[in-house]
Symmetry: C2
Subunit: 343 residues, 2 copies
């Protein structure tokens, strides 16, 4: 009996040791951490990268504090067509502000937005969109802005799926985020979108806290409210444009380490992937390619797909990916399903 008791204790001790070791080194059990991915080169690349960077016996082992992975958002983690979600929010804000700012009804580009003419709105050039963003994302405290975006997200719906934008995240990519984190990686969003905007929902949607969201940054100004309370007011001023070369520059400023993995889907992510790939050891660079018109959208113009102004994927980027050994994720061929609400 004593022997049996000792055996039980030994088994318990070994089990708890195994459990602790598993936790410490982020080892996975045998269940597939990427169930929405079809077996193929993309899934294989992700699993192999995680294996070689987290296995202490691997020559490409990366110590936990160095494990940084960066993800673009629009078109990489969630839907960006027919228009970026933040632009939809800004257009909505024009309507709200126009109740007080009556001059909006006479002044372009606000007049066009208020007309509700979707075709005319879709044709607004970047300069006009920037003016709209500056006017609608400023003049309020950071807390007022957060509350307003949060409220809008509960009511706004995507025109195609008639669902909140927050349901339009890509399930396979959320699996990648979880898989990376389970293996000791710190996951960052590095987006061309507004940092304050994405921070409102990133924790709830992706498990990514505000301090791990890097984006385009508008100025804020510290000051005092009438009652003397210190406040931060959003200013109509772009401090950092987190696109193209701005991505590695912001990564250096906000993180201070070179990522080991970077995910994107358009030329705005190119320099981030180049910078990531220029590091030594194992590095993973991946681009999401929208080629599934049935479940989401199909746009290029790479590989003969239709061209687009929103999140374009030109042939030159496709060719660079092939040449540099980056993985192109085909939504059609690499994913079993796109959204968690699909069967």
């Amino acid at each position: 009996m004593l022997i049996r008791c000792r055996r039980v204790l030994t088994v318990l001790a070994v089990l708890s040791l195994v459990s602790l070791t598993g936790q410490a080194f982020g080892q996975q059990d045998n269940t597939d951490p990427l169930p929405s991915w079809k077996e193929g080169p993309a899934k294989q690349a992700i699993r192999e990268f995680v294996r070689v960077t987290t296995d202490r016996a691997s020559p490409k082992y990366v110590s936990p504090e160095q494990r940084i992975a960066t993800f673009d958002q629009d078109g990489t983690l969630w839907v960006e067509h027919p228009m970026y979600t933040q632009v939809m929010y800004c257009l909505h804000r024009v309507g709200v502000l126009a109740k007080k700012k009556l001059e909006f009804w006479k002044r372009e580009p606000f007049k066009t937005v208020l007309s509700g003419d979707r075709r005319a709105i879709a044709k607004l050039p970047p300069k006009d969109l920037e003016e709209i963003a500056a006017a609608t994302l400023s003049g309020i405290t950071v807390e007022e802005f957060n509350a307003d975006v949060r409220q809008w997200l509960t009511t706004a719906k995507h025109p195609r799926w008639k669902r909140p934008y927050t349901e339009l995240t890509y399930l396979p990519m959320r699996e990648v985020l979880s898989y990376f984190r389970a293996n000791g990686f710190k996951t960052y969003i590095v987006t061309g979108g507004g940092q304050d905007f994405v921070r409102v929902y990133a924790e709830q949607l992706y498990g990514i806290p505000p301090e791990q969201v890097v984006g385009s940054v508008g100025g804020t100004k510290f000051g005092y409210a009438k009652d003397g309370r210190p406040i931060l007011i959003k200013e109509p001023k772009l401090l950092l444009n987190d696109n193209n070369a701005g991505k590695p520059e912001s990564i250096h400023m906000m993180i201070g380490r070179r990522p080991y993995a970077a995910f994107g889907n358009s030329p705005g992510d190119r320099q981030m992937l180049e910078y990531t790939g220029a590091g030594d050891g194992a590095r993973l660079m991946m681009l999401v390619f929208h080629d599934d018109v049935k479940h989401e959208y199909a746009y290029g113009p790479a590989q003969g797909l239709p061209n687009t102004k929103v999140g374009t994927f030109p042939q030159a980027l496709y060719d660079e990916a092939v040449q540099r050994g980056w993985s192109v994720i085909s939504m059609k061929n690499d994913w079993k399903r796109v959204f968690s609400f699909e069967k």
Copy 2:
């Protein structure tokens, strides 16, 4: 025997539960987490703050992901007299660069620096120091800069203690950092000093990783080396001045949450403490007051101490602290010892 075996198992299970609970809630055992602090109001304020924000039964409980604490560096975590360490590095760099840039020997303010006349150097106005910083902290890749600072830190010594600057951190403040982290707080440096400079040593000295160092930011430019390799070059351009109002503005940009605790030592930290104190629930605002001429330095001009240009503590700041209920840490009365090399 079976009964005894069951009892052993029960005891084991209870013990492991206690251990897990202790870990999960960051509970301390009975050893003093702040052994270099004398019993008194400052130590009491820190312990009470940690207790009410981490005890789930407390009405001022703060969920772990919200636990942010920010610390100024120069004069708060390490010695800043007779001159900021980074300025000493810049002066050294002038000498190195002058071997190639012969015009430095004829041009002010470089000529004064190269003269070695400590009195004249100490009198250089901020504009000249900025010009020296811009010239010495730019034109190289971020990796070259890191390597150079790292190398300098191994050889440079403080004129008074004849020890590396890296040994001149305040032991009581390092205990606060550890104590906060053991209780689930994320500790950040928020310094007026150069972000890239402080990041070189913050992990080794304070256990604070690069992504948790916020500081004044010089521009970096993404580009390609002659061999095509993507690189980031430091530019002679100040993007963010992380002093005064710049501190809460940078905290919003880099962290995106209001801190629950903030530590500083001079007017450059005032707005950070005001912004922290404007939040609801328990907030801890503390200022290190240098009044120990024997073990470190004594400077004000608050409370009749001598005035200084480096890390001044004016009476107005002292009065604001008293009025707003911030704690002033007296190095002489609140600390048992300043440095870990003291007996």
